[in-house]
């Protein structure tokens, strides 16, 4: 089984996030960069499938030089090799352009299964992985919380509003990981050492045959016009009362009189 995991490096949401002077980006100086948490689920699931069925797990990521740290983290968890697309011309690419670049890389590689996080916690677009599947012309199953592979068929449980859908497809397939799929493992210390010696190729747009003029900041179909911080956290109010009845009455009272939502 050839498994490719799409991984993105994102700011740690616990970092100090501040809007930059331009009003459309965030200050990056003191950010800590981590693997997108949903991509951790994707890596973990890939490793479990590999452990059960054999095969290779390849990590594919695009970003500046520091992205290597995140690819190494996935390798330390147990992935076999990494491919890092690093090209200044790709900087500022929107979801569609990113998908085009990733798809171009995937066209050059063998794959039976592609796994990605269902969304990246920075841009929150939910778009890159589905667009990659479209560009490759393969089935996609999003927001997966459970999967099972039998022969050349994958059966996934997908979260839908108010319930779950079970979807089957013939490999090759791309699916995206939702919280609940698994609990990602820790990168072990010996794993981190081994990761340093695992193959990690760096590729440019030219290597992938992507025309630099079609991607990057100047080709954004979606433009950010302004960023605003979320409203400040309100203080928590504890509902008082000794028994469920009193608690319920006091809660309704607060919702009615203070929050004015009832």
């Amino acid at each position: 089984m050839e498994i490719v995991v799409l991984v993105k490096q994102v700011p740690d949401t616990e970092s100090l996030i501040q809007i930059a002077g331009d009003g459309v980006s965030i200050k990056t100086e003191d950010l800590k960069w981590v693997m997108n948490p949903y991509d951790e689920f994707a890596v973990e699931e890939a490793l479990r499938i590999k452990e059960a069925q054999g095969g290779t797990v390849t990590i594919l990521s695009m970003g500046p030089a520091k992205t290597v740290e995140t690819i190494r983290t996935a390798l330390a968890m147990g992935a076999d090799k990494g491919i890092h697309i690093n090209d200044p011309a790709a900087e500022g690419s929107d979801a569609l352009a990113t998908a085009k670049i990733l798809a171009a890389a995937l066209k050059e590689m063998p794959y039976d299964l592609i796994i990605a996080g269902m969304r990246a916690v920075d841009g929150d677009n939910y778009q890159v992985a589905p667009a990659v599947a479209e560009l490759l012309g393969i089935p996609q199953i999003t927001q997966v919380i459970q999967e099972e592979i039998t022969g050349d068929t994958i059966r996934c449980t997908q979260v839908v509003e108010g319930g779950a859908a079970v979807i089957e497809a013939k490999l090759p397939v791309l699916f995206t990981a939702q919280r609940g799929l698994n609990e990602p493992r820790y990168a072990s210390l010996p794993g981190i050492m081994k990761a340093k010696k695992k193959p990690l190729d760096t590729k440019t747009l030219a290597d992938l045959g992507v025309d630099a003029a079609t991607v990057g900041a100047q080709n954004q179909k979606v433009q950010i016009t302004a960023l605003n911080p979320p409203p400040a956290r309100q203080a928590i109010t504890m509902i008082e009362g000794d028994d469920p009845q009193t608690l319920a009455v006091n809660l309704v009272k607060k919702l009615h009189e203070e929050a004015k939502v009832l």
Binding site: D12, S15, L16, D30, K32, L189
Partner: protein, 556 residues
């Protein structure tokens, strides 16, 4: 231990990713490269990333940095301010008085203002770039000793994925035994591993105890038009209010880049009043007209707390044992008189590195070779400046006029003073018991007001430290006997842990009158270790939680 732990051999292991060990690792690698020695060097750090657990004022004397890396500016060393203009004030509740005579050790010409978290992160990147194996997120939990019981052979890292009842979770990942020819301990103040070494090899003095201060600090963003950002003064130090003259400590306010300032209050942990709360002292300090005037309109970006090891020269442990060396705050390298410890920490790490290189050249890692480190420390400027301050912390611990007599006498006798050495009392032994009939006042006259932006309650502060721990893990704070908390400690001190902890980890709940119970919130912990230091019954032991937990400092 039922399971065989994996052994992971290294040549040199650094425990702790602060400035002492990072400077040591960089120096070691440089020297090894020069001499053609191929060494496998590892550094473990309990924080999720290098710099996450680093917090300081901080004014850096670049003397050690210049020795380590003369081209530090070209390498992008993150410096906030190089133009240092000092003010030194004595504060009363409503007023400030210029101290007419700024003592020589308070002069900061040639120094610079940094964020220690940023600075440490930068050192970490350089060290990693040189080929040092940096392992953030791995906590050392036990010291490995050789069969002789007299030599250190490495450090075992903690298991991950253990639930709060001690059972393995699905994500269980066993720790490994990192063995090394030499292990260098740079855990910062009150290390939890150096304590294990001391238990076995008695490296700390029995008569000169380790003593500490706790600092609470914030980085505050000021409005662009704030006059302080344009003024001449960049450094303010204060003493007096809100601590008074009998409790050692003081405040600092430093100007940083990007309209930010660093503001903090340091409280000596030998304070006597069990009702004193360092965090509330910090808030009072912020409300003083001098400080409130400067920070008006500001917004707290990050908050944190950490202890400083301030005992100085006479409290230094034995610096070397078979197979191990001790550096930085772990080894009381800070110079309390100059309020600086980064340069001394770095220098100690660098001297340790030089010693380790000679040990590899001789292929001897016993005390016979490693002892050279003690001599290197003794011969360097590191000891020269600390020797002059050898009785300073002791003098500050004195009360009233006596304090100033000691300080004055020391000033003119190169530190010898009226008595040399002056004695010290352990911080856990200084609290005065409350009278038997003591009752809490109905309403606190200085009840703090919080606005959620500039004046923060403890829990909002904890939130702004970014601290996080895996919730489902064994409690890392060991309270040995909770009966003491509920009875004796309540009666004698009204549970000072609920006040000296800057992160509200300790709470006493009284569900029915007279029935008290200690509740712990270990997830709030900022890893400052004040609890272990100050608890009057020595009832608390701080152990390392699962690696990766703790604050996520980035600019403090």
């Amino acid at each position: 231990m039922t399971e065989e732990r994996e052994e992971f051999p290294l040549d040199v292991l650094f425990v702790g990713g602060g400035p002492a060990n990072l400077a040591g690792a960089i120096r070691l690698k440089k020297l090894a490269d020069e001499k053609g020695l191929e060494l496998e060097v590892g550094l473990i750090e309990k924080g999720d990333a290098i710099g996450n657990h680093s917090l300081s004022g901080a004014i850096l004397d670049p003397i050690a940095l210049k020795e380590l890396m003369p081209d530090y500016a070209e390498k992008g060393c993150p410096i906030e301010e190089t133009r240092l203009h000092d003010r030194f004030y004595y504060l009363t509740q409503h007023r400030k008085f210029d101290v007419p005579f700024t003592p020589k050790f308070m002069h900061n010409e040639g120094c610079c203002i940094i964020s220690l978290s940023r600075f440490t992160r930068w050192l970490g990147e350089i060290a990693e770039g040189m080929g040092i194996n940096i392992f953030p997120g791995f906590a050392g939990t036990r010291v490995l000793f050789g069969e002789d019981g007299r030599s250190v052979t490495g450090v075992g890292t903690g298991d991950k994925g253990i639930d709060k009842n001690g059972k393995k979770k699905a994500t269980y990942e066993p720790g490994v035994d990192l063995t090394a020819r030499v292990t260098i301990f740079g855990e910062g103040p009150r290390g939890s591993l150096i304590r294990q070494v001391d238990e076995k090899l008695e490296i700390f003095s029995k008569t000169m105890p380790q003593v500490f201060e706790t600092a609470v600090k914030e980085v505050i963003e000021l409005p662009e038009d704030n006059p302080f950002l344009k003024g001449q003064d960049t450094v303010i130090h204060t003493f007096g209010y809100p601590l008074g003259l009998d409790t050692k400590g003081g405040g600092f306010l430093y100007r940083m880049k990007d309209n930010r300032i660093s503001l903090g209050l340091v409280v000596g942990l030998d304070y006597e009043d069990p009702l004193l709360e360092p965090y509330q002292m910090f808030l009072r300090y912020k409300r003083h007209p001098l400080i409130a005037g400067i920070i008006q309109g500001g917004k707290v970006l990050q908050q944190g707390a950490k202890t400083l090891s301030i005992g100085g020269y006479y409290t230094m442990p034995v610096l070397s044992v078979n197979g191990a060396l001790f550096v930085g705050d772990s080894a009381a390298m800070l110079n309390a008189q100059r309020l600086k410890g980064i340069h001394t920490a770095m220098k100690s790490g660098m001297l340790a590195a030089e010693t380790v290189i000679s040990a590899f050249e001789k292929d001897d890692f016993s005390l016979d070779t490693l002892r050279a480190y003690d001599q290197k420390v003794a011969d360097s400027w590191l000891n020269a400046e600390r020797y002059e301050a050898r009785n300073f912390t002791q003098a500050l611990a004195r009360k009233g006029v006596v304090k100033f007599m000691h300080i004055g006498a020391q000033y003119f006798t190169k530190g010898r003073g009226l008595k040399d050495p002056l004695s010290l009392v352990e911080d856990c032994a200084t609290l005065k018991k409350l009278p038997k009939d003591w009752k809490a006042p109905e309403e606190d006259s200085e009840k703090p007001e919080y606005d959620g932006t500039l004046y923060l309650d403890k829990l909002t502060g904890v939130y702004l430290s970014g601290t996080q721990h895996v919730e489902d893990q064994p409690c890392h704070l060991i309270v040995h006997n909770t009966d003491i908390c509920e009875t004796l400690c309540y009666e004698e001190y009204r549970n000072p842990c609920t006040r000296f902890c800057p992160a509200q980890v300790y709470e006493m709940v009284e569900e029915t009158p007279g029935e008290r119970r200690l509740v712990l919130n270990p997830s709030n912990c900022l890893h400052c270790k004040t609890c272990e230091i100050k608890d009057p019954y020595k009832n608390i032991t701080w152990t390392c939680p699962e690696g990766g937990g703790g604050p996520k400092y980035s600019i403090v």
